[in-house]
C-alpha cells in the first residue's frame, strides 16, 4: 500500500466529520460517566484541526509534520483529558513517519502502534481502567501480531479494529479506575466509556478510508 500525505489529510478530514456527527452521542455517554463534554471537546478540537488542514497543511507532504501539527492543533484547541492523550498519540505516531510523504504497510502499522502506546504512556492507564486504552491497547496488540505474521496492513488493521471494538464494548461492564468516572465506583458500570468510543471511531474511520482505496 502506498498511503500518501494527501490521503492522510483526507483521513483527518473524515475524522472531523465523524466527530461532528457523533458529538451528541459522545456527550450523552459522558453525561453518564463524567461531565458531559466529550463530544463537545472532540468537536472543538477537530474543527480547529479542520481549519489547519484546509489552510497551513493543505499542501503539506510530510506525513510526520501533518500528524504532529494535527496533534498540537487538537491539543491547543481543547486541553481537557483527551487533548494531551490524542495529541501525544499523534505526535508519537508522527515520529515514526517523520519526513515521509508516502507510507507503506509497515509505516502504517508502526504509526498506529506508536499512536496507541503514546496514549497509554501519557495517561498511565491499563486495560480494564475504563478508558481510551481499552480500545487502543487490544487493537495495537492485534495489529502488531497480525502484521508480524502477514505483513499486510489492511487485513491486520481490519482485525485490529475488531479487537478495538470488543475492547470498547468491554468498557460498559467495567468499574472505572481513572479520570472523572473513577469516582463513581459501582455506579460507573453499565455505561460505555466515551473516550474508548471516540478512540474506536478514530480507528474505524481509518479502516473505512483504507478499505475504500483498495476497492
Amino acid at each position: 500500500m502506498n498511503f500518501t500525505a494527501k490521503e492522510l489529510i483526507n483521513y483527518f478530514k473524515q475524522v472531523v466529520e465523524v466527530m461532528e456527527n457523533e458529538k451528541n452521542y459522545l456527550c450523552e455517554l459522558d453525561r453518564k460517566l463524567g461531565d458531559g463534554d466529550h463530544g463537545v471537546t472532540m468537536s472543538i478540537g477537530w474543527q480547529a484541526v479542520n481549519k489547519k488542514l484546509t489552510n497551513e497543511l493543505e499542501n503539506e507532504t510530510d506525513c510526520g509534520k501533518i500528524s504532529s501539527e494535527v496533534g498540537m492543533t487538537f491539543l491547543n484547541a481543547v486541553g481537557s483529558s483527551v487533548g494531551p492523550l490524542y495529541a501525544t498519540g499523534l505526535i508519537k505516531g508522527a515520529k515514526v513517519v517523520k519526513g515521509k510523504s508516502v507510507l507503506n504497510d509497515s509505516d502504517l502499522a508502526e504509526f498506529w502502534i506508536a499512536f496507541a502506546n503514546g496514549i497509554k504512556e501519557r495517561g498511565k492507564a491499563e486495560v480494564g481502567d475504563k478508558t481510551i486504552v481499552d480500545t487502543l491497547a487490544p487493537a495495537a496488540k492485534t495489529l502488531e501480531e497480525n502484521f508480524a505474521e502477514s505483513g499486510d496492513f489492511l487485513s491486520a488493521f481490519n482485525e485490529a479494529v475488531k479487537s478495538g471494538e470488543e475492547g470498547m464494548k468491554s468498557t460498559t461492564d467495567l468499574i472505572s479506575r481513572l479520570g472523572r468516572s473513577s469516582r463513581l465506583g459501582e455506579r460507573s458500570k453499565g455505561a460505555q466509556d466515551p473516550g474508548a468510543t471516540s478512540a474506536y471511531m478514530m480507528l474505524s474511520t481509518f479502516l473505512t478510508v483504507v478499505k475504500m482505496r483498495s476497492e
Binding site: 451528541n24 458531559g36 487533548g83 495517561g123
Partner: protein, 333 residues
C-alpha cells in the same frame, strides 16, 4: 436552559473579552495567547509566581482570583476542560520573576496532564515550577486514597494561603509547602439539587427526580455517592459536616476557616441557612470558626446546590487567611 449568550462556540472568548474590559486595572490578556491572563499590576522581582487555572464555567474560579494576594496569572480552559499547555506556559513565563512559579489546580486527569506538559516545557526554558493539586472532596475517594480525590471548593483556601505566602516573600519551596499544608488540612463535600447545562449541548448535566438530591456531587456534575430524597438544610449540612469531621481530626479549641459555597443558582439565603447549622455544630464541639466565607466561590454554571469546606488552621495559616486580597471577583480587607 435559556442562556444570555451569542453563540455556544464563543462563550469563553467573549467572557474573557468582557472580563478584561471590565477590569482593565486588574487583569490583562497576554499577546502570546488568548487564554492567558495575568495581573495588570507589576509584581515584585523575586516574588514566587502563583499560577492557577482550569476549565471555564466555575466563575469566580479561576480567572476571578487573579490579583494582589491571590494568583498572578491564570490559564483559562474551555468549559469544564483543562486549559492546554500553551496558555499555561505563556502565563508561566509572564509571572516568573526569577523565583519560580507555583501551579495550583484541582486533581483532575486533564489538568494533571496539561499542567504536567506545561511544566516540562517550562523546565526547558529554565523556569522552576512546583505543582500542588487540590484534593479536598471527601466524597470522591476513601481517606486512604486521598491523593485520588478531586479538588472542589476547598481550592479557594489553597489559593488564599499560597497567594499570601508568595506576597510575604516565601521562596518557591515554602510557598508550595503552605499550599500542601492547606490542602492536607482542607476537606469539602457538596450536594447537588439541579443540573447545569453546557452551552453547546443544552442538555442537563445530570438527572434528578423532582424531590431528589445528589450527595457528594462533583463540581462538573460528576455523580456523587448516592441520590437521596431532598432533606432539610440542617440535615444536609449535618450529613456533609459529618463526612468531613470523620475524615479530619478536629479537637476542641481548634481553629478552622469555613466556606459554604454555592454552585451557581442557590440563593445566598440558603447558603446562610446552611452556614447557621455549620456554626451550631462546630460550636457544640468547641471548634472555633476563625473566618467564614459564604457565597459563590467556585461554581458550575447554573447548577443548584452547595458545598461545605473546613480548613484546619495553625498560626501561620491564620496569618495567610487574614492577608488582604484585591481581585476582580474577590476582595478581602
Amino acid at each position: 436552559m435559556k442562556k444570555l449568550i451569542n453563540s455556544p462556540e464563543n462563550v469563553v472568548e467573549e467572557m474573557i473579552e468582557g472580563y478584561v474590559k471590565a477590569h482593565p486595572s486588574h487583569v490583562r490578556r497576554l499577546a502570546e495567547n488568548d487564554r492567558a491572563l495575568v495581573t495588570a499590576k507589576e509584581t515584585a522581582e523575586g516574588k514566587v509566581g502563583i499560577l492557577i487555572g482550569g476549565g471555564s464555567g466555575h466563575e469566580p474560579a479561576f480567572m476571578g482570583y487573579v490579583g494582589d494576594g491571590m494568583a498572578d496569572g491564570v490559564a483559562v480552559g474551555n468549559i469544564f476542560a483543562s486549559p492546554p499547555p500553551a496558555p499555561i506556559l505563556e502565563v508561566t513565563k509572564a509571572v516568573n520573576k526569577g523565583a519560580g512559579v507555583l501551579y495550583l489546580y484541582g486533581n483532575y486527569a486533564g489538568d494533571v496532564m496539561n499542567f504536567g506538559m506545561a511544566s516540562d516545557l517550562a523546565d526547558m526554558e529554565d523556569i522552576q515550577v512546583e505543582m500542588v493539586l487540590a484534593s479536598d472532596d471527601v466524597a470522591s475517594a476513601p481517606k486512604a486514597e486521598k491523593e485520588k480525590r478531586r479538588g472542589i471548593a476547598g481550592e479557594f483556601f489553597v489559593y488564599k494561603t499560597a497567594g499570601a505566602a508568595a506576597d510575604f516573600g516565601y521562596n518557591l519551596e515554602d510557598v508550595a509547602n503552605i499550599a500542601k499544608k492547606t490542602n492536607e488540612n482542607t476537606r469539602s463535600m457538596g450536594v447537588g439539587l439541579s443540573p447545569c447545562s453546557l452551552p453547546q449541548t443544552g442538555e442537563p448535566s445530570f438527572e434528578l427526580g423532582e424531590n431528589e438530591m445528589e450527595v457528594g456531587l462533583g463540581h462538573h456534575g460528576e455523580p456523587g455517592l448516592r441520590k437521596a430524597p431532598i432533606d432539610t438544610a440542617d440535615n444536609v449540612a449535618d450529613e456533609l459536616l459529618n463526612s468531613i469531621l470523620l475524615d479530619i481530626e478536629l479537637n476542641e479549641g481548634d481553629d478552622v476557616a469555613v466556606l459554604v459555597n454555592g454552585l451557581g443558582s442557590t440563593p445566598r439565603m440558603e447558603l446562610y441557612i446552611m452556614f447557621r447549622r455549620v456554626e451550631q455544630v462546630l460550636k457544640e464541639k468547641g471548634i472555633n470558626i476563625y473566618r467564614s466565607y459564604v457565597g459563590d466561590y467556585i461554581t458550575s454554571l447554573e447548577m443548584g446546590g452547595a458545598s461545605i469546606t473546613l480548613t484546619k488552621l495553625d498560626d501561620e495559616m491564620k496569618k495567610m487567611i487574614d492577608h488582604p486580597v484585591d481581585c476582580p471577583m474577590f476582595v478581602q480587607k
